[in-house]
């Protein structure tokens, strides 16, 4: 956490989403296990808030999944990163 304290921009792995009920059991199990080594979108926003990060950019998305976050406790900007987005640090 120390490493990201007060940074202007944090680009972070938000791969570990909550699996939907509609998924096949095998797929559901894989997505559940992702939490062991990937952060969830909400983890990313919580880290950004706790570390006073200026802007948090969520990446490493699963296809067809739109990450959902509650950013009410975070005063910075949340960006859902897309391919070819350019984000200014200065």
């Amino acid at each position: 956490m120390q490493f990201v304290q007060d940074v202007d921009v944090l680009v972070i792995d938000a791969c570990a989403v909550t699996p939907g009920d509609d998924l096949a059991p095998a797929r559901r199990k894989i997505i559940q296990r992702l939490h062991e080594f990937h952060a969830s979108p909400q983890d990313c926003v919580d880290i950004a808030a706790a570390a006073n990060v200026g802007k948090v950019v969520l990446t490493h998305h699963l296809p067809g999944v739109m990450p959902e976050v509650d950013a009410s406790a975070y005063s910075g900007e949340v960006i859902i990163g897309n391919d070819l987005d350019v984000i200014d640090v200065i």
Binding site: V4, N82, I90
Partner: protein, 178 residues
């Protein structure tokens, strides 16, 4: 100028709109670092209007396939676009990856390409080094630092860039940081 271009925002599942992880950090005049090189990185650099031959610095966060499948393609693509040197930095295992995926398999074809007219340094002057958490270095006026992440069972690093008092962290893959 200090910016990051997201080249791939996807996961291992192949996807047309979300490529494998890769991002280009750029600062000042010509300062740059490509962070990760998943499948599609060469095409995405071209799509972003970047000059392949000018990509000389690469930082790999870890050796999972979705972060390095495009690495051999970049070695060859940048070389044919005129690159004459390259520095590759990553966690333990980075040198071994280069040795196995590039040097071991492609050396014979590289010698053939050199005989054909490709510049020898473009393939030979690729310096690959494994670095630990805590590593840091100045590159073209930007402070680079390697930091810890949680991505078992892999050795993995986050990279921090500090330029003119502003900073950016790219975590690569990580569980929730504590």
């Amino acid at each position: 100028m200090f910016q990051i271009t997201l080249l791939g925002t996807g996961s291992p599942s192949p996807n047309l709109t979300r490529h494998h992880p890769a991002a280009l950090v750029e600062w000042g005049v010509g300062g740059h670092m490509l962070v990760d090189a998943g499948d599609g990185v060469v095409g995405q650099l071209l799509a972003a209007g970047k000059s392949l031959g000018a990509i000389e610095n690469i930082a790999l966060t870890h050796m999972h396939w979705d972060h390095i499948l495009g690495y051999p393609a970049l070695v060859w693509g940048g070389w044919s676009a005129g690159r004459n040197r390259m520095d590759v930095t990553g966690p333990v295992g980075t040198g071994d990856m280069h040795h196995q995926l590039v040097e071991n398999y492609y050396r014979e074809q590289a010698e053939w390409a050199i005989d054909l007219g490709f510049s020898r340094p473009g393939f030979d002057a690729i310096a690959v080094r494994d670095v630990p958490v805590g590593w840091s270095e100045m590159l073209d006026g930007c402070l680079l630092e390697a930091g810890p992440v949680h991505h078992p069972p892999m050795d993995a690093l986050a990279f921090k860039f500090t330029y003119q008092g502003h900073n950016l962290v790219v975590t690569g893959d990580t569980g929730a940081l504590r």
